[in-house]
């Protein structure tokens, strides 16, 4: 009773096996895949970069747009960031963090720098503020691929944010989505600087824990 031997070319059989595995640990697996794509990109592999683009461009553009609140400017900045990913991929060190984190950190940093330089010439005051701060979730996020998985992640992050105190959530949203410095956040919320720093830290730790962050990140 010998099992039917799998005679398919194994290199081609492999992706389906990976798909099956992804179903089991979608988030962790996707993260590991992005690490691999970025490492291949660092070796000059343009196909790997195209794969990386497809996986992350939506998050890069969405993050930048959220901070900048201007589609045209967001497109310009997102495009710069993605090229920067290509250019500096050889610097990525998987022992020091995830590809997703590396790329989205770069995107967010660029967006915040841009918004602050724009601030000098434009008064954003009427467009920001706690009362108007959007919930941290975008209905349009549902349009992107891997809908079910994203919904699940979204649910996990949403519940992690739901589990935060109001102060933790407001501090994080004002800083991350509005591009405020922690000093501005402290002033807006009327709390001491030390409190803001602690709330930011506690909130981020909660977010990271919520998605079962990896065993292997230092």
């Amino acid at each position: 009773m010998t099992a039917a031997v799998d005679t398919r070319p194994r290199a081609f059989a492999m992706p389906w096996a990976w798909v099956a595995w992804h179903v089991r640990r979608p988030w962790a697996a996707r993260l590991a895949d992005l690490d691999k794509l970025l490492i291949s990109t660092a070796g000059g592999d343009r196909d790997a970069f195209a794969g990386l683009y497809d996986a992350i461009a939506g998050a890069v553009f969405g993050t930048v747009r959220r901070v900048l609140r201007d589609d045209a400017m967001a497109e310009e900045v997102a495009q710069d960031v993605l090229l920067e990913v290509w250019r500096t991929a050889p610097r990525f060190d998987p022992d020091r963090g995830r590809a997703t984190s590396w790329i989205l950190t770069m995107a967010h940093r660029r967006a915040v720098d841009r918004v602050r330089s724009e601030q000098a010439s434009r008064d954003r005051t009427e467009r920001v503020g706690i009362a108007e701060s959007q919930p941290a979730f975008d209905a349009t996020a549902e349009e992107v691929v891997e809908l079910d998985e994203r919904r699940r992640q979204e649910g996990e992050v949403r519940s992690a944010m739901g589990g935060m105190t109001d102060l933790q959530r407001q501090a994080i949203e004002l800083a991350y989505f509005e591009g405020r410095t922690y000093r501005e956040v402290a002033e807006l919320l009327g709390v001491p600087l030390g409190t803001v720093k602690t709330r930011m830290r506690d909130g981020l730790i909660r977010l990271r824990g919520a998605l079962g962050s990896s065993e292997d990140t230092p």
Binding site: M1, T2, A3, A4, V5, R10, M14, W16, A17, W21, A28, R46, D54, A57, F61, G62, T63, R65, D71, E75, A78, Q79, L82, L83, R87, T88, P90, P94, R96, G97, R98, S101, L104, A107, V112, F137, D138, A141, E143, V144, R150, Q153, V157, A160, A175, Y176, F177, R180, T181, Y182, K197, T198, M200, I205, L207, R208, S214, D216, T217, P218
Partner: protein, 235 residues
């Protein structure tokens, strides 16, 4: 002042420092491993916020970016142009072979000195044993099968046990893999006995959260998976 700087890890991860503080903190990061670790962890939390904001990127951006990429040099190339070339292939091969020989010698010595290899029985007798199910994937072509991974966090070791496992062609074998952050690591070959039973020590260090997977490979085994994954599960 240093204590104050440590506290800036979270605002830094949120890009919520003003330029002068950011500069000071980045200088501090160069010398403080604790803060580097904290920042990496906190940035991962922040990245979850970013991932949530995903929207479909503007049409046409993909084409433009991929076109730009064909004419944009990477930093590595810039470094290479500046004269820091990698050693030629023969040198690299020789270096790798030398390193491998040295590694094998050290490992052989270590094994001799310790002469206390963990066995499947040791693991199964561990007090902290945790059993989890390995799931057959659609690529597994046999009948119902019971597949378990028994993991001892204390020993950092695991054993897989199968009942009702389909035989494989003599030219093939089942191969175990430990999948963590990097490439899957090969962790031993096995075949079921005539009764469809198999028990195998996972021949790699196992830490909580890794995935244990089984593929079908050529009988001599391979260094990185080529066949379909037929079982997978986390410990």
């Amino acid at each position: 002042m240093t204590a104050d700087l440590h506290d800036l890890a979270a605002p830094y991860a949120l890009d919520a420092l003003d330029p002068s503080e950011r500069g000071a903190f980045e200088a501090h990061l160069g010398t403080c491993a604790d803060c580097r670790g904290a920042v990496a962890a906190l940035q991962e939390g922040a990245a979850h916020l970013a991932a949530l904001s995903a929207v479909p990127p503007p049409p046409g951006m993909r084409k433009r970016v991929l076109a730009e990429v064909t004419v944009t040099p990477q930093e590595r190339d810039v470094i290479a142009l500046a004269g820091r070339r990698r050693p030629g292939l023969p040198t690299r091969i020789l270096t790798s072979v030398a390193a491998l020989v040295l590694l094998l010698a050290v490992v052989a010595l270590g094994v001799n000195l310790l002469s206390d290899p963990t066995t499947a029985a040791d693991v199964l007798a561990a007090a902290d044993l945790v059993n989890s199910e390995l799931t057959a994937t659609p690529d597994y072509e046999g009948g119902p099968v019971e597949a378990t991974v028994s993991f001892s966090p204390g020993k950092g070791a695991a054993v897989v046990t199968f009942a009702g496992l389909e035989e494989v062609d003599p030219s093939l074998t089942y191969e175990l893999w430990v999948i963590g952050a990097g490439e899957p690591r090969p962790a031993g070959l096995f075949r079921p006995g005539g009764d469809g039973r198999a028990q195998e020590l996972v021949d790699e260090e196992v830490v909580p959260g890794v995935t244990i997977a089984v593929t079908i490979e050529p009988a001599e085994g391979v260094d990185s998976p080529t066949g379909p994954i037929v079982f997978a599960g986390s410990v």
